[in-house]
């Protein structure tokens, strides 16, 4: 029986990769894109305001 245990371990292929058990990476991508777009909008808005104020002065 002991041999059976060792034998079972040997049946795994040599070049085996571990299972890909990750969650949804799409959600992470969506979150990062949303934050990036939001940040870009805020920066643009602030820059516009600054330029406008500079023109008025």
């Amino acid at each position: 029986m002991y041999q059976g245990v060792l034998g079972a371990a040997i049946t795994v292929p040599a070049a085996v990769v571990l299972p890909n058990t990750g969650d949804n990476t799409l959600l992470t991508v969506t979150a990062i894109v949303t934050v990036a777009v939001g940040a870009a909008i805020i920066v643009t808005s602030v820059a516009r305001t600054v330029v406008k104020k500079a023109h008025k002065a």
Binding site: V5, V17, T28
Partner: protein, 201 residues
């Protein structure tokens, strides 16, 4: 002016939505960093054979008990899940994987009291092993087998490795259990939680 304010508010809104969407990933990442880690992989050739921290392999005179895992319970984390067979496809290099079950890698030894590493794996999703990163040292895991035995294991530590690390399948030391789920922001790593056999009920 009103249009500009609306534009700015939409930016702030998007930032908040994005951060809320990222929150589960950030929390998961933080939790995975807080897991008690092993200083050395238990599957390196030296440790796999000597297995210094593990219980020594049982004497062959003791009744040999083994069984295929069908259920896993981690009482401290309120995890109670069915375990089904998991196979590796050499051509596609993919494993059987479901969204709400744990898999037993059938090519690894069944739960037993003599030797080898029983390998279970499951998604890092809230339905499966999302909370596994909160496991504490010494926590018990109960693995019920198809022939009615309940193997009790205790948590001894976790470590992260890359997907090509096959050492986990070559272990032949004292009987142990490994549970794998993914970690990292992009789930690019594999986090291996290792458990020593405590008793069979």
């Amino acid at each position: 002016m009103k249009k500009q304010r609306l534009f700015l508010l939409s930016g702030v809104g998007l930032m908040i939505i994005g951060l809320l969407l990222a929150l589960p990933t950030i929390m998961q990442y933080r939790d995975s960093k807080g897991v008690p880690t092993l200083t050395q992989s238990p599957f390196t050739p030296q440790t796999a054979q000597a297995a210094p921290s593990a219980t020594p392999p049982q004497e062959p005179t003791e009744t040999y008990v083994e069984g295929k895992p069908t259920r896993i319970q981690i009482p401290s984390l309120n995890i109670d899940l069915p375990v089904v067979d998991g196979y590796y496809n050499e051509q596609s290099q993919k494993w059987t994987l479901s969204n709400n079950k744990v898999h037993y890698a059938v090519a690894t030894p069944q739960a037993n009291n003599r030797a080898g590493n029983t390998f279970l794996y499951g998604h890092n999703r809230k339905e499966v092993f999302k909370t596994l990163a909160k496991v504490q040292l010494g926590a018990e895991v109960l693995v019920t087998t198809d022939n009615g035995h309940v193997f009790v294991y205790t948590f001894k530590g976790a470590y992260e490795t890359d997907p090509t690390d096959g050492s986990v399948f070559k272990y032949q030391g004292a009987p142990m259990l490994t549970i794998q789920t993914c970690s990292g922001v992009w789930y690019e790593n594999r986090q291996l939680f290792t458990f020593d056999l405590k008793e069979i009920r």
